[in-house]
Symmetry: C2
Subunit: 507 residues, 2 copies
């Protein structure tokens, strides 16, 4: 039996090896989405499958269980907030989850989700839900089996949610989302009923891709992304992929006739990237050096994209620069018109095209449907009807096709049940972090810094209170420590009410 110190040291080495293998996969995944030639797809699949197998083997090595047992009964974990205690807690969590799910189930899920994703692409293109249905049934059956294997106290959904938002429960989220939708629905209705609309075409301009890239990169650098330790490339479905310390890749896509797509997309990914760049590099490969949860990750992207990037002070700095970057393009557009246009509340059938207010209703819809699907209260065959009924109730309009209804997202086809709520958790955490930062740094001082193009006070606050904490605490506890309050939808609804009442003058 090794000493506790030796066991902990070996545990850290093994965790780093697993992280390095995953980080190799991340490089290959990034290349696949950016530069890989079409004909390389089959080889890339083989490479990634082998790396996944190697990583899984390393992550489930029984030696990890032995080492954990030594560390967990040692004085190393006496202080539950110490680095070793946090690492032991999270490594135990990951090891248990990985070893509880039988290898057969992992392989079955890999197989059915690969086929389901292909079927989804085809079904969505043809607006043919029945083509996707049997695949969804299979995925759902295996995910329910996964929930049983992992175990749960309350709802089986908890076991799936746990993969993305460790420690969160369906009940907790249901409560928060209920409060949220109670405030959000009338707010959105009031904006619609005001009859006010931004001037048409403000954002639909011919914009050279080169200039868009330059302007987006300069904004990303201004808010604090380190381009010496990262880069921005072009892809079809934008994402941020952090390989580890010193290397974080942002991606975007350019619409040559619409400003928002690339610009706010880049701000969003930059928020993810700055979080990764701010993680404690010394702890790379261990939980303390990793992001806290997907909800917290999303809070960082939403914070920079919406709380900051759709705010007045930000554009007081950037609007003149926008006109320099695209000479003549926005002639005749006033700062107020621009500000209204980027903050318009306009219900959409499509989640990824929706504004920061209605977006959350899309999530609440999916969360509720997922709960019912996992509990067995809803069968896939009834999904289109259930989707349209609840969508109409929440957003006041009815999808005309399944392609713009229950077939629009890729998530269920890859088995990502439990993923959706993290998007809205991100919005809520973002608003709550901003509230706390404003209180601590002074609202006026903070806005003054934005207007001067200096985003470092906010970035530094996030570094201290979020980024540098890694996964030392679970998301709920991180939020309590950073904001002195548990997660609540109120900062977000208050923020929206203030913004929308000013724009629509009615809410």
């Amino acid at each position: 039996m090794p000493t506790a110190d030796d066991a902990y040291a070996e545990l850290v080495t093994r965790a780093k090896d697993v992280a390095l293998v995953q980080s190799c996969s991340a490089v290959l995944g990034w290349d696949q989405q950016t530069y890989m030639p079409k004909a390389g797809a089959a080889l890339r699949g083989d490479q990634l499958a082998l790396l996944a197998a190697i990583g899984h083997e390393k992550a489930t090595d029984p030696r990890i269980g032995e080492l954990l047992a030594v560390v967990e009964t040692s004085p190393l974990v006496a202080d539950p907030e110490s680095v070793p205690a946090a690492n032991a807690r999270e490594l135990r969590h990951a090891y248990d989850r990985a070893t509880k799910i039988p290898k057969r189930l992992v392989e079955e899920l890999a197989r059915v989700t690969t086929l389901a994703q292909q079927a989804w692409v085809s079904a969505r293109a043809k607006n043919n839900f029945p083509e996707f249905r049997p695949h969804l049934e299979q995925v759902l059956a295996f995910k329910r089996e996964e929930a049983q294997a992992v175990g749960y106290k309350g709802h089986p959904y908890d076991a799936l949610l746990d993969e993305y938002e460790p420690g969160a429960t369906a009940e907790e989220i249901r409560q928060v989302f209920t409060d949220l939708s109670r405030d959000l629905v009338p707010l959105i209705r009031a904006a619609a009923d005001s009859g006010k609309k931004p001037r048409a075409g403000v954002l639909d301009r011919e914009l050279s891709v080169d200039r868009q890239r330059w302007f987006a990169e300069s904004a990303a650098a201004a808010i604090g992304f380190d381009f010496g330790a990262g880069r921005l490339d072009t892809t079809a479905h934008p994402f941020c992929s952090a390989f580890g310390p010193g290397d974080c890749r942002l991606t975007t896509r350019y619409n040559p006739r619409f400003f928002n797509e690339a610009f706010f997309g880049v701000l969003h990914e930059t928020g993810h990237g700055m979080y990764e760049q701010g993680l404690p590099a010394d702890h790379f490969g261990t939980p303390v050096g990793a992001y806290c949860s997907l909800g917290i990750h999303e809070s960082q992207s939403r914070l920079w994209e919406n709380q900051v990037g759709r705010g007045r002070p930000f554009w007081q700095h950037f609007f003149p620069r926008l006109n320099q970057a695209f000479p003549g393009t926005f002639d005749g557009v006033t700062p107020d018109e621009f500000y209204f246009a980027i903050n318009e509340v306009k219900p959409s059938y499509i989640r990824v095209e929706s504004d920061e207010a209605t977006y959350n209703l899309h999530i609440i819809l999916r969360f509720e449907l997922e709960l019912d699907l996992v509990a067995g209260n809803l069968v896939p065959a009834d999904l289109p009807g259930a989707w349209n009924e609840r969508f109409t109730k929440l957003l006041g309009m009815t999808p005309r096709t399944d392609a713009e209804g229950c077939l629009q997202d890729i998530h269920w086809s890859f088995g990502g049940i439990g993923y959706f709520p993290t998007y809205t958790l991100g919005n809520l955490y973002a608003a709550q972090f901003m509230d706390a930062a404003r209180r601590e740094l002074g609202e006026t001082a903070l806005e003054e810094s934005f207007r001067a193009g200096d985003f470092s006070p906010l970035k530094d606050w996030l570094r201290r209170n979020v980024h540098q904490q890694g996964r030392r605490f679970r998301a709920g506890e991180l939020c309590r420590r950073a904001t002195h309050s548990p997660l609540s939808p109120n900062p977000f609804t208050r923020y929206l009410r203030e913004k929308l009442s000013a724009i629509y003058t009615v809410c």
Copy 2:
């Protein structure tokens, strides 16, 4: 004990896994040289070290030895030219080599060569050989130890050469190189003594990087590189990296004031790339699906760069296109002037800047010095003197500094002793392959096809006779089969004599 068929199947699976791990490293290596941000270097080092360790572990698994023993004593290998026999032969060769070198030595070499490469960069920049000398001594000592561990019949150099040119021997190469230099030295002297020089500045023109890229890509596509299964990117030290079937990456660098650098660089890497694209994809991961040797690999790059790309028929097709790609840039330059300029024989101190004739004298020099270093007849302390003395004898001029003398190449610092001769072997194989292709396809027909911009007859000949053969035969045997003659320097010297006597009108 598995049956022979089962053993062979498992052997193939294991070989493929090793190849896939190496191919993941290749993706990471390509990214490192093209897109990786500066700050990602340390992480990349850790990723590559882990993949190397995983690959080495898989390649030296004792199970491979057991499986080989079963296959080697089975009827599967009865026909030595069959796929299983060739795979068994080469897998045995690789397994023996990998397991004969002690792990300690592998690690020591990794350590000293990392330090030696850093010292080399610094020593070259400061023209300070004494700074590099102790590192070279260490590398040399470990490489000599490696030669002892691997074993050899003739010269210890054979054991090192074997890593790059399996089956070749120092004695064989010495003979070929002796014949080569006997013909080459007077040929180069005659060109110099002719007093003829191309008009100054023909190739030194302002050339937009975008247009250079476009023109080079169009030439690469014209000679047969499949851009649906590969791409061209920019780097500091150009290379070609093939990840496997369907994915081959070319790189180059652009000199905005000099045509040759990117254009002939791309032709060169395209030759490497077309070889990789032509390997039998069904056998990927096994020796039969891999390149034959570095000498054969280099023959493909030199063939397209020099034999084809510096030839008259090629430029009869491309010269008008050059003028379309760079309107006005080459105004007043005649096709003859251009042809002379790209074929000028001009001795240089620097190997990578030298022409296709004198290049080989640089290699002969290094080969002879390596033999003496490995045999212990020359100590690193005496290297600068020995270099300059032999350089003067071969090229008729004396390096003014060690930076442009024995410090110019990276190879020895990374332990690549035995690598240099493969460059000239490539030139010789290239000329011999071209000779055979001309005989089989008809010289006139072949040149006619080049003039028409159709390079497929030559490409198809290479596909059949070289690419599709993979490593089924060793280089010497591949050459005999493709050209009906063993390796000889004569086709190369004949080719050069004809070309240079036409240009310089004297040789």
